[in-house]
Amino acid sequence: MTGIWTICRKELADHFSSTRFILLFTLILIVSLVMAYMVGTTLRDELKDVAKPTFVFLMLFTSGKLFSLVSFIAFFGPLIGIVLGFDAVNRERSSRTLSKLVSQPIYRDSIINGKFLAGAILITIMLLSIVLLISGLGLRLIGVVPGPEEIWRLLIYLVLSIFYISFWLAISILFSITFRSMATSALAAIAFWICFSFFVGFVADLAGDAFFPVDPRAAERNPELMVTQAQAKKLISYISPMTLYSEGTTIVLNPLQKTTQSLLLMGPMERLSISRFQNPLPLGQSLSIVLPHIITLIAITMIFFAISYAVFMRQEVRST
């Protein structure tokens, strides 16, 4: 454990003093606070002299004029993971410190474990500070104290977000082991992010249409085929960690959302009228809906870290 903690402490110190991390964190912090302020003031004005709905506090995280904090983290969170890990190992290799590290009396896996742990701790500190700041700002703006269930939901959201960003950390560490050039590993991680965050939806649509074609004229007579096609598209879209995360966090932070499988298109008025006549889901039931999402997210994070681990352990380290 000595090796892991020593490396973890050094990595943390390096991250905290690195300009790129400070810049990224400041950007995310400013955007989050501005968004929370805008949402908070909007909620305060709209709910003036009106009975506040349950779970209004969570709306700070799920509402927004352009996009919500949840969608912002879903979009930009991977960049944090990539920035923290893209040069984790190849930087040591190019500065020739890796051969020195492995010749010290520490287990070789301490190096990669220490680096991943430092990244995960940093992600936790970042997210926790953002959530706490937004909560503080929200308390002041809307004047509503969150209930225990809201706090639990926020904690689950936090854990989910930590694993989501850690997944991208694991990916970027894997690339930093595989590629000797730091630029290549950064580009590879960004390419992976773009593919798995933005193109999986198109691929899912194409694959769904190709494997389960539905004739629009015959669709009314064969609704099962439509459902099958929609389910296939949904299943394929789960390849994307962003889909898993977005769906998972939406259900956790919005107790009125009861399914991830809705095929019906509804307008905002229809959704509003439905929501007026329904009760929020208890936390346990929201959790049971998103449990597959959470488990999958944790599993893919662990799988990619395990691949990084295995590749690193098998590499021969020379000083030249």
Binding site: S95, S99, E316
Partner: protein
């Protein structure tokens, strides 16, 4: 030297694909001995070092360093061994003492013990003048000295040095050789010393070994090797002449 063997190999072999990097290497090096490990680039010197350090697994054969098998007990070996690679790297944004402290933490040395020790070894290698200077601003020679300081900090029983005087000016090289000699004589540290600068090897080595294409073609005291190649005579041969004789024979 007191005769106690600290490095031993038996038919140590490393094969990469169909290329034999080290072929059935048999070594015995005693405590306090300075062993010059010679050979052209690609002869298998670094591969041997990596196997002895437990950083690379031998294809076949056995090795022991201070009684520990580097393949089975790499941590025990690394605990008693200091290693200065050919291209030593440091954390450029830290100063010399911070680099040393980081390495001492990895070796389980408490900070309160490591701090005074770091000051002492920096003084020994002549890097105590500007303790705040970041290593990124160091010259090649200063980095080599810092590498030696890092090795000394561990107080190892065995030291593996890969081209330790590379990039040093003549005065710096002489100082470095003096430090190596002192490690062997005063502290009874075994020095496994690989270099292309044969005059330096000749100055400090008790014995040398010459590797060619993965094979140890000669091993022994320099005088014995000279006698073997040139016969007994009045003339004193340099290690360079002996080495070139073996090298040319190996090439033909």
């Amino acid at each position: 030297m007191n005769g106690q063997t600290v490095i031993e190999t038996q038919d140590l072999t490393k094969v990469y694909g169909d290329q034999v990097a080290v072929n059935r290497l048999n070594l015995k090096i005693d405590q306090g001995e300075v062993f010059g490990f010679l050979g052209p680039n690609g002869a298998g010197k670094t591969t041997t070092l990596l196997m002895l350090l437990g950083l690379s697994e031998p294809t076949s054969g056995k090795a022991w360093v201070c009684g520990f098998d580097p393949t089975r007990d790499p941590l025990k070996v690394k605990k008693v061994v200091g290693y200065l690679p050919e291209n030593v790297g440091f954390y450029d944004d830290m100063n010399a003492a911070q680099n040393l402290l980081f390495m001492s933490r990895l070796n389980g040395i408490p900070d309160e013990v490591a701090r005074p020790k770091a000051e002492e070894v920096l003084r020994i290698v002549g890097l105590d003048a500007d303790p705040r200077k970041r290593v990124g601003a160091y010259s090649r020679g200063m980095r080599q000295r810092l590498g030696i300081a890092e090795v000394l900090l561990k107080e190892p029983q065995v030291v593996f040095l890969d081209e330790p005087t590379l990039g040093l000016d003549p005065d710096g090289a002489l100082q470095m050789l003096e430090v190596i000699r002192s490690m062997s004589q005063d502290k009874k540290i075994t020095v496994f010393f690989s270099s292309h600068l044969l005059d330096q090897v000749q100055k400090i080595s008790h014995r040398v070994g010459i590797m060619l294409k993965g094979n140890m073609v000669a091993m022994g005291r320099i005088d014995d090797l000279a006698e073997e190649k040139f016969g007994i005579g009045q003339e004193k041969y340099t290690l360079e002449e002996i080495y070139m004789k073996y090298f040319k024979e190996g090439q033909s």
